[in-house]
Symmetry: C2
DNA sequence: CTACTACTTCAAGTCAACTTTAAGTCAAGA
DNA sequence: TCTTGACTTAAAGTTGACTTGAAGTAGTAG
């Protein structure tokens, strides 16, 4: 496959594929002249990267979970990422429930609604235990 | 409260509070001389913002969910955000399950493990239905 | 051979969300 | 009164993840 086919099948722009290669997340299997040639395995790899990105992992973190061949076998790392995701899932569930409640709650100001405040508090407590470093995860819904 | 107390209680740097004010997410209730004075309600507001941020919403999106007084009463908006969060939660669950499986799976290469690939595929299918615009999550930061 | 087009590299630009810096203000204590 | 220190503003800098632009190259159609 050439880069345009990978781009088409992965729905990523070619520039992103080059960028990922530069960062060491994927490899082209060789060149045909000056042009990159990819094997089909790159698509699964890109699918994994996309999923991990959408789960809020940084490219560096993702890189650490990958080898040239496949997924890193560092069980500790994998499990700790899974654990972190689990916390994040609970935050999102609290947020979702909070929004649904706010949508149906008749209180004039949600910041005075006990149920809403409780959801906020639960999530915030979890979040302060959970957060790493100083930044949040940079991703959108 | 002055800004340092809000900073201490919200665990956000004062610079962030000023930045949020500049962006219209929070307000100081007045000034004592040149200095900002806050009412305690700002803490709940900041808690909501923190939760929404950690759920992946941008400051602009969050701003749209807030009024000067509290949470926006636009049920449509709130419910659609909740819906989007629900999709995201399922992505994260797929990722988490994928990682846990990878950690325990004995296959030499996870990209050849049917169970792992199935998890990838499920998540990616959902993702392509879910994604908006062309890019992945902008992020970050 | 010439044109065309899809690739290539490298550098610079963009964006969100902050953070840092420089220069100034003000209330309080020695 | 002078100094200290926590605040203030406006502007510039930072980071991660890309994107864009300029200039060059290689396979192919005419």
């Amino acid at each position: 496959m050439d880069i345009s086919e990978v781009a088409r099948r992965s729905k990523l722009p070619a520039s992103t594929l080059r960028y990922y290669e530069e960062k060491g997340l994927i490899r082209s299997d060789g060149r045909k002249g000056i042009r990159r040639v990819y094997s089909s395995g790159v698509l699964e790899r890109l699918a994994f990267i996309a999923l991990a990105r959408s789960a809020g992992l940084s490219l560096d973190e993702i890189k650490n979970m990958l080898t040239t061949e496949g997924i890193q076998v560092d069980r500790e790392l994998l499990l700790s990422k899974a654990e972190a995701l689990d916390h994040r899932i609970k935050e999102l569930q609290a947020m979702r429930d909070g929004l649904r409640h706010a949508a149906s709650c008749t209180a004039p100001n949600h910041f005075e609604c006990p149920k809403f405040l409780r959801l906020l508090k639960v999530a915030n407590h979890r979040w302060s235990r959970t957060r790493r470093g100083k930044g949040l995860n940079p991703d959108t819904g």
